[in-house]
Each structure stands twice: as structure tokens, then as C-alpha cells.
Point group: C2
Chain length 390, copies 2
């Protein structure tokens, strides 16, 4: 087990009606805030009005910046940074899902920085401080509500890159499962795939002596799959929505990954897909992760067998363990399909004529390896895209 430091100061307030305390909570971090949100759903649902009411009641002044798109973009972040500076805003309240939160986090680290905020995503520089960010979560998926990271897309070259620092964790996250009732089934399923992927990225490690958190990760994935089928069956099932919402936080607040490190190759390989085709990140992961597994499983047969036996109940083929793994990957794909996701580029109607270009970009012309479980160069990444074709 690796040495680690764990510290997560995000306060989670969970349950019915909790969004009404947004004003109260953010008022502890600033008297003037940026109200940051997406493309209108929170306006149509009345949630924005409810939040504004709570800001006014708490005596908090606010400036609005809506329009965050899925796979949030640098241009809006730059607009936000300027606006915050001009208006002397002290804190950011993100109302939405991972994209809105990541956009808010990016603005928050950009404001106190003299240079270009993209420096933090290109690896040129490290953020040193951040404005406080609070969250009202409406889409359980990315876990960004208590994670230290953000993912941003630079329209110049459609580069999708991530950045992280412990002080980037939101100060609080208000999580009302009822706010997710109206989330379309496809978006719900994408979120579920993202959660499972967050745990799998941590599961496939070369660290030994991680038996306790192996079991914890396995339990978490089993629990998500069980509740996922309930949500897809009845989107207004409060209990199932609540379980999925809480799972999204735990899948990515780092607790499950302590002492293990993480791989993250599948995430990086997927990012090229969603940067180019604006496919939902979760759907991209449902396509890429099984392909990644097919490419790397020989690296640690034992770990893959354990994964599929314990989580999917695959009967162990002691004579030919690869059969156990291939059967398991098939069941994982089956699960993704059952919740309505594509598992190949073909079924997602993603063209396959730019795979070489994506492999080049992901590996920065084969100068940068992805992942730590099996470090992957350009050629390996291309093979994975090919395995994802059909």
C-alpha cells in the first residue's frame, strides 16, 4: 500500500429540500457571488428562482453566468474570470452537474492567477489558490462536488485536459435527490457509467496489499449496479436516486483510492472522443473501458479474475482464467447496454476515420504515456480505439 494523505473538507448536506440553504451556506464564504449554471434546465425547472430567493434571504448579492455546455469550455471560463474580477465577486455558487462545477472550479483558480488559466490544464503551471466554490448538485455523475479536480476543453485544438489541487474541493455540496428526478434516462445512465469508471480507474493498480479497499471498491460497484437498474426502471424512485447520488460522491472523493494510486488511461482516451464528437463522457467511458480491458487484461490476470468473480459473479474457470475475464467483460458491456448506453463506436454512431489522430493527440505524438497500470503509448491507444469500433 502506498503512503497517502487524505483530507476532504467538503461538507455534504444531503436530502429533500436542502437546496434552499444555498444562500445561507454560501454567505459564509462571500457576500457577493457568481451564480454559475448551464443551459437553461435550472431556469425552466424553477430551481434558479429558488436559489436566487435563498441568496436574497441570506443577504447575498449575486451576478449570473449561465451557458455552461457539457464538456465545459475555456472561453466561458475566461469570460467568468473577467466578470468575477470586474464585479469583485468573492465566491462562486455552481448549480448543475460536473460540467458546471468544473467550469466554476476553473474560474475560481483563474481569478487569483496572473497568467492564462489554461496553464494549469496544459501542465505549464500549478494553481496556488482558489476562490471558494459551493455546489448545488443536479446531476450525479462526475463526483466533482467533493473532488479536487476539474476537466476543461480548449476550443483551440479541442484539447480536453484536467487539473487538480486539494484546495479546489468545493466548500459544500447541497444534494437533493429529488432534483435528479427530471434527469433524462440517458444522462442518468451516463452518470452511472462515470461513477463505475471512477472506481475501476482506482481498482486496476499495480500496488499490492490493497485487499481492504479492493473489497470496498467491489462493494461500491455492486451497489451502484443494483441501484442503477432501479433508477432506470423508475426515475422517480427517491431511494434509488438517493443511492446513486451518494454513490457518485463516494466514487470520486478519493476514499476508495487511498494507498492504491490510479490508472486514468481510459478517462484520458475517452476525453479525445468527447472533445472531438461532444459525446457524453459517461457514454464514451462505456465504450472505451471494455476496450481498454480487452487490451490490458493479460497484464494482471489475477486482478481481473478477482474483479469479475467478486462483482459479476462470473464462475471461475481455473483451467483457463482468460475465459473468466472475457465472460466478465461481456457482462460489464451487457450492464451498460441494459441501462441504455452504447458500448461500441458503431452503436454510438461515432465515425472511425480519426482514430489515428485521436491516438496521436492523447499521447502527444507518442511522447506521453497514458495510465500507470499499463502505460500506453500512441500505438496501444490506437489499438484500444480499434477494439472499441464494434
Amino acid at each position: 500500500m502506498l503512503n497517502f494523505t487524505f483530507s476532504n473538507e467538503t461538507k455534504i448536506v444531503f436530502g429533500r429540500g436542502v437546496q434552499t440553504q444555498a444562500g445561507q451556506d454560501i454567505s459564509q464564504w462571500g457576500k457577493k457571488v457568481l451564480l454559475h449554471y448551464g443551459e437553461g434546465h435550472i431556469v425552466r425547472s424553477g430551481l434558479k428562482d429558488e436559489i436566487i430567493e435563498s441568496l436574497i434571504a441570506a443577504g447575498v448579492d449575486y451576478v449570473e453566468l449561465g451557458g455552461v455546455k457539457p464538456n465545459p469550455r475555456l472561453s466561458l471560463v475566461n469570460e467568468g474570470i473577467e466578470l468575477v474580477r470586474k464585479e469583485n465577486i468573492e465566491a462562486i455558487l455552481a448549480v448543475g452537474g460536473g460540467s458546471v462545477i468544473d467550469s466554476a472550479k476553473s474560474i475560481a483558480v483563474g481569478v487569483p492567477y496572473d497568467g492564462d488559466v489554461w496553464d494549469f490544464f496544459s501542465g505549464k503551471n500549478q494553481p496556488q489558490s482558489s476562490l471558494p466554490v459551493g455546489v448545488v448538485l443536479t446531476i450525479p455523475a462526475a463526483g466533482s462536488e467533493s473532488s479536487p479536480g476539474a476537466v476543461l476543453t480548449n476550443e483551440d485544438g479541442w484539447l480536453k485536459r484536467s487539473c487538480g489541487a486539494s484546495f479546489m474541493r468545493p466548500k459544500f455540496a447541497l444534494m437533493n435527490p429529488e432534483l435528479t428526478f427530471s434527469l433524462p434516462l440517458y444522462a442518468t445512465a451516463c452518470g452511472i457509467a462515470d461513477m463505475i469508471a471512477h472506481i475501476m480507474e482506482r481498482y486496476f493498480t499495480n500496488e499490492k496489499e490493497v485487499g481492504f479497499s479492493d473489497h470496498l471498491c467491489e462493494g461500491a460497484i455492486r451497489g451502484i449496479m443494483q441501484e442503477a437498474l432501479k433508477v432506470i426502471n423508475d426515475p422517480h424512485d427517491y431511494g434509488a436516486r438517493a443511492n446513486i447520488m451518494w454513490a457518485g460522491t463516494l466514487a470520486h472523493n478519493d476514499l476508495l483510492g487511498m494507498g492504491r494510486g490510479g490508472d486514468w488511461a481510459s478517462h484520458d482516451i475517452e476525453h479525445e472522443l468527447s472533445a472531438l464528437y461532444d459525446v457524453a463522457h459517461g457514454a464514451g467511458l462505456a465504450i472505451i473501458f471494455p476496450a481498454w480491458m480487452k487490451y490490458v487484461y493479460k497484464h494482471d490476470i489475477e486482478r481481473f479474475v478477482q474483479f469479475f468473480v467478486r462483482i459479476f459473479g462470473v464462475e471461475q474457470d481455473f483451467y483457463n482464467p482468460e475465459n473468466t475475464i472475457l465472460e466478465g467483460i461481456g457482462r460489464l458491456e451487457d450492464f451498460f447496454r441494459r441501462i441504455g448506453l452504447p458500448t461500441t463506436l458503431e452503436t454510438a454512431q461515432i465515425p472511425t476515420d480519426r482514430l489515428e489522430e485521436m491516438a496521436k493527440k492523447a499521447s502527444n505524438n507518442d511522447t506521453h504515456k497514458l495510465g500507470s497500470f499499463v502505460p500506453l503509448g500512441e500505438k496501444a491507444i490506437l489499438e484500444i480505439y480499434k477494439l472499441a469500433k464494434d
Copy 2:
């Protein structure tokens, strides 16, 4: 699922050598500290010298108070409160296990309080603030290093009671698994039983819609049992010691219990045992929990079947589910015996002539019910003590 708020600010620093940063970490909370510890093990092992060296290097002044006993006592806490006031101490560094940490937490809430610190444990009053507490953990068991609670014994009547408040969570916990190599096997096993009990107290709930955290709890217990057998087999197995140490924190930092509530009757019933006979808390739990299960399982057959099928792999008897449960309780007892713990009062050589007295005390003369899964009065508690006899 219940509404909840989760916030845990304890910073965990985990791995080889981390105790050497004790001075650095506590210096952020006070320039003069109380160095609080137990009965000499940390003196003999050289750990105390190492901690003092790090305090001096960080420019931190210190006053020592050793002598904490297992099941920590009010008299020493009162002594600590006086000492801290007299010496103008600003923070407390607890070096030890749950007893030392609980003693430190009790001193920390007692210092700013005008009345008798026991008020917080008798229920007469609620703590309003606390001195900062830092921890160097040497015994993984109680989870007190990141929990908001403390348990204290009042020698006047041998009352063992608990108290909790979110600000009682330690500011940091330094956790080096190597420090646990020298922990005797019996103490190690007691710690393991305590961890498992902490999860079981949360598992047996009347809340519905807790499917995700059910799986998480089940995974955690399976992981602990797996690593426990490795530790008992080789006390110097770093990986197994590390897994068990981390498990002790996660079992009791509240994450596994969010939205579920908790029962805690077995803990309370056990407290009477360890208050009267000074039996180790974990050993007491290995005796009481199976007896509690035998008494209450009919209240929710389905939950108990799920528990034993999923964790212990008991084959489900669909015709007579009680058989599944009784087989499961037997396996839990087997596990406790395999790691060297007693599972009856008889094997622990605890006399059985004061069971009525303990049941009276635990229920405050039948005026106070224990637990929430099945609330238990004096008569029920007595039955559980009787079931624990042999």
C-alpha cells in the same frame, strides 16, 4: 434513506515514518501542547522520544500526562483539564489508541467548560467547543482518530458513557502501520472486532433504500476479515497491518453510516461489561454482538439473511431462512474464535452473577431503551446477557 450532513475535517497522513511530522502538524494548532499517552508502551518502544524530538524541532513546548488506562477514566481527565488550564496549553497531542484519544477529546471539551465535564457524558449538557486535538495512532480499533465521539468511564459507579460533537474530530491523525507491529495479537484481534462491530451497528437499521451503503458495509467487513487472518498469521505483515489500520478509520468515520442511522445497542450493552470487569471492549463485543443477533434477528429476517449470504457466503435456505441466519451467526462466532477472541462470558471467564445489575444499569432501571433497530429495555438486555453466557 435519511437526510444527513457529512463533514469530516480530519486530515489523515498514512504510511511509514509519518509520526515524525507530529511536531510540525501540531504546531499549526498550538505552541504549547499536552502530550497525552497511556501506560508506558510508547515509552519503552522509544516512540515517545521520537515524538518529543519532533515537538522540539518544531519549536513546540509540551507538558506530559501519561497513564491513560484502557476504558479511560474521568479522574485522569479531570487531572488533565486542571493541568491544561494551569499551564495555558493550547492543543492536545494524543499518542496511543482509542482510550488515549478519547481521554484527550474529553480533556479538550472539558477545558473551555465551566461545569463538570461528566455533564457531557451523563447527558446533562452538550459540549460547545473544544481545544484542538491531534493524534499519533498506535492501536487501530476504535476509529476515534477521525470520529466525533469519545467514551469515558466514571469510577464513581463505574458508569461508561459516550459523548459526541462534530468539532470533537481530531484535526489530524498520523498513522504508521509499523507502529502496530508490536501490538499483541489479542489486542489486535480486539481492535478488529471493534471495527467490524462499528460497521454492524450501522448495518442493522430500519431505514429502507440503503442498498448502496449496504454493499459498501458488506465489502468493508469482508475486507477486514480477509486482512485480519493475514495479520494474525504474521503480525509483521506491513500490508495487512496497513489494511487493518485504514479499515479502522473507515469503519467509524461515519461514511458507511450516512443516511442509515445506527443502532449501538450492542456497544451500550458491552459497555456495562467492560465498565465492571475491565474486559477489553473488542472482546466484549465479540461476546455481546452474536448474542444480540440471536435475540433480535426475527425483527428483520431479510436483512440478516442478506448480511450472512453476502458476507459469509452462507447458502440461502429459502424454505427456512432462520437456518441461514443461525448458520451465519455461527460463522461470525467462528471468525472471532479464529482470531483468538472469546465469544461467551464463560470462555472470557466473566462471572455471571451480576447480569441483572448490568441490565438495570444499561437501561437506567428500565427507563431508557437501548438501540433503534429493536429498542431494548431491561428485560431484553438481561436476555441478551443470558444468551451470551455460554
